[in-house]
Symmetry: C2
Subunit: 264 residues, 2 copies
Amino acid sequence: VIIIAERINSSRKSIAQAIEARDVEFIRSEATRQEDAGAHYIDVNAGSMVGKEIECLNWLVDTVQDVTDLPLCIDSPDPHVIKTILPKARATPMINSVTLDPDRLDVVLPLAADHNAKLIALCQSPDILAETADQKVELASKLVEKATIAGVPISNLYIDPLVYPLSTCPQSGEATLEAVERIMDMYPNVHTVCGLTNVSYGLPNRKLVNRTFLVACICRGLDATIMDPTDKQLYGAMKAATMVMGQDDYCMDFVTAHREGRLE
Amino acid sequence: VIIIAERINSSRKSIAQAIEARDVEFIRSEATRQEDAGAHYIDVNAGSMVGKEIECLNWLVDTVQDVTDLPLCIDSPDPHVIKTILPKARATPMINSVTLDPDRLDVVLPLAADHNAKLIALCQSPDILAETADQKVELASKLVEKATIAGVPISNLYIDPLVYPLSTCPQSGEATLEAVERIMDMYPNVHTVCGLTNVSYGLPNRKLVNRTFLVACICRGLDATIMDPTDKQLYGAMKAATMVMGQDDYCMDFVTAHREGRLE
């Protein structure tokens, strides 16, 4: 399971403060901690820095790339921010994210194609709110079609079926799981990914719900996740799920992670 | 998800001691704790009491039935022990367990039919060790066939595909999950159940592996489990998985369990 490490996001108060203060050491330490914990991509997001997102994200990218060779996941809802920042990425980056909204799609798809970037594509469109598995799969098919036409190879696509909060949409978990399974069946070589925080919105024990949902996703075929790899309970659930699914030869990853004190 | 509460088992040292000492209060308290924690059946097992299993199980049944109206799960590898003890059960009991071994099958099936008992049936035969999903499903089909011929309704059957330790059989998790899904698809009204301890044998962090496997099973269709409901992490994972699968209307069960301090 590919881990996109989510901690360097300005929606977190400590990160916003570090960005404001240009606290190089704090951001470096967040990057290093996540790399040490098993991250494959470091997500960088300065979306809450209104009016100065580009400047802030630019600084974040430099600061993170100073201490790690891991590829970045350039995270912004604004396609023009992505366009400006993307060329700075040294290793082949990931883009987070695109939707079927033409304003985003028409800018981001050519960028992804030109840079051979990985691309997180959300099952979200201006027309419908995709709550059922059928609707999610339909939007996924459209994303695959548009991406293919734009020259983005299907193996660079990370489709997120978008789970909605169980508290208001109790069938959304199962709909998302079914969508993961069907998307992975329909398109060999495509990837699926899921943000975990939506699912537990409005519920108690949110971390328990999030990690349970991650296990459920993995056991239906999900192969990437946006998560905090330093959360040992979440990391442990992910590693155990991968092993249960027979994707950990001789259980070596799990046993090693245990020995290194990374599971709880 | 139906919970068969597993704590009153003489393989646990404290239970063996309580049985030896005929410690009524200890056994009563174990039964009550499990009922309070959400058990649907109380498993009673005196299998390690060699030469006096019937006498010990008899006492366990009386002691547990003194404090709870929950149905019992009469647990013995010896079909003659089950035959002797079963008539003592007040509420419609469950039998744990039968396999395709004729010595067990020929005694236990008629008993289950006569008492309208629920029956845990293991995908185990004298001929083959069912390691693959295909083999597990084949044995499940034989169990369904034999049970039906003997007059046990399919809705009384709780089929356990039998997971083997991941440490020696790394594909056994996925094989078991696939078997659960296929058995539930093939036989509407049948139940599936899984013991959790096998899966983690020989691994570190066994409880993490067990509860991750339970979540995986539930999200592939499992509807019963043999577990310790007083284990709040395991119980929490089970409740969260049930909610994620859309089987908890308005998330009420989960929120209530949280309020009552039963989740971790």
